[in-house]
């Protein structure tokens, strides 16, 4: 069956958005811990977060399948509660979330590290508990960086191929996202116009994401500005 390009674009956007939003709290928490806390095992956590970046995505997909597939207890439980992972949109979303996580955390971590710790110290002496300081000082100041991380994670999720193919397959209308549709169209005899459309949409989305990321970066720098006038 010839892939429907608009169905692929729709699925990609859903997968990219769902994976980005669902992992936001974890990404923010991990980034904050890595930026602000000194503890035994910090380097290990830091390396662990980066693992999906250096692991071949197909291997990441295989690991996820082993962990969440029907052969594992977790996978069987997820299936029993109505959230089967293999060959489903859930699987595609998990794949996108895991593969995008390193970029996500790195962008937010950078934003947290750019916030002067003395502002947090002053906040504490003014009677603010650590959580109040986080929500009134640290997070608002790092907000553009958090948004930048979301853009990167979304863009990465949009184009995910290897891990998605392994865990979610390439099912038209269900798990066939842009990258998988492009792959399928390469072999389809009448796929040229659909292929062109997908290429244009992909490039367009990437450009929007990169421009957005750059604008957010500038906003972050301005937000932290406190130099002599």
């Amino acid at each position: 069956m010839t892939p429907d390009p608009w169905s692929a674009v729709g699925l990609s956007v859903v997968v990219g958005a769902a994976s980005t939003v669902a992992t936001l709290p974890v990404a923010v928490a991990t980034a904050w811990v890595l930026a602000r806390k000194r503890f035994f095992g910090r380097s290990v956590l830091s390396a662990l977060v980066l693992t999906p970046l250096v692991l071949p995505p197909v291997v990441t997909g295989l690991l996820l399948l082993t962990l969440l597939g029907r052969a594992s207890p977790v996978g069987r439980w997820l299936e029993a509660v109505g959230w089967p992972v293999p060959f489903s949109l859930t699987g595609a979303t998990i794949a996108a979330a895991v593969v995008g996580f390193p970029l996500y955390v790195s962008a937010i971590r950078g934003a947290f590290e750019a916030v002067d710790p003395r502002l947090e110290e002053v906040s504490a002496t003014l009677g603010a508990t650590p959580s109040r300081t986080f929500f009134r000082v640290t997070l608002p100041l790092a907000l553009p960086g958090v948004a930048g991380g979301m853009v990167l994670a979304f863009a990465r999720g949009l184009g995910e191929f290897g891990a998605t193919a392994v865990i979610a397959g390439n099912i038209e209308g269900r798990t066939r996202t842009i990258a998988l549709a492009v792959y399928a169209l390469l072999e389809a005899p009448d796929g040229k116009s659909a292929l062109t459309l997908l290429l244009v949409v992909s490039v367009g989305l990437s450009v929007i994401a990169l421009v957005g990321f750059e604008l957010l970066n500038r906003w972050q720098r301005r937000r932290l500005e406190l130099t002599d006038g």
Partner: protein
């Protein structure tokens, strides 16, 4: 003699060196003087509870803030700490900075420090002296148990400096808020009638 409001026995690491402090005071104010890099700022940070590397004990206002197995978090100490470069919250307006801890008496404090006309401004649009005054106001408004001022008048011109030091000293005296003031200009200490602590050769001495 009145009960001391501050009683410290500390060893504060300063790079390869250390600063030894073993002093108590019941004077209304203390002025800390000494060379740059001598540990004045670090001592203030230790007392504020934001610098934890010092070993020893700190008792303030009858409460042990730091000691064996004891460390009172900065948000429970409630000191009015004014760091040397003000450290205003860049994403908040002057009014929001002043009201960060609480806003009762904001107009009065803004008037006292001459920042009433700046309330809607962003910190990035203030001069160094204006920023210091806003930081002072933020600390005064926080209902502090004691004040820790790190060169709070350094960015001000001479006449404003003398007037503001006098006003802040009177404000603290009226409310009986003990003050520890770090300065390189001893004229700042006069309105506070401060006891003088001098840092020299890694020790703090009275006199």
């Amino acid at each position: 003699m009145a009960e001391p409001w501050l009683d410290v026995a500390l060893r504060v690491p300063l790079g390869a060196l250390a600063l030894e402090v073993s002093l108590a005071t019941s004077a209304a104010a203390v002025g800390v003087v000494g060379p740059s890099g001598g540990g004045k700022t670090t001592l203030l940070r230790v007392l504020a509870g934001v610098e934890r590397r010092a070993a020893g004990t700190v008792k303030a206002l009858g409460v042990t803030w730091q000691g064996p197995g004891v460390f009172v978090a900065p948000w429970h100490r409630r000191v009015g700490w004014v760091p040397q470069d003000a450290a205003l919250f860049p994403h908040l307006s002057v009014r929001e900075n002043l009201a960060y801890a609480q806003a009762d008496g904001l107009d009065e404090v803004a008037e006292l420090l001459g920042v009433s006309a700046l309330l809607t401004r962003a910190p990035r649009n203030l001069s160094g002296g204006e920023r210091q005054r806003v930081a002072l106001g933020r600390a005064l408004l926080s209902r502090p148990t004691l004040l820790l001022l790190d060169e709070p008048f350094a960015a001000l011109d001479r006449s404003l400096r003398a007037r503001l030091a006098g006003q802040v000293a009177a404000w603290c005296a009226d409310r009986r808020i003990p003050t520890l003031l770090v300065t390189h200009d001893e004229r700042d200490l006069e309105p506070f009638s401060a006891e003088r602590w001098e840092i020299a050769d890694g020790r703090v001495r009275v006199g």
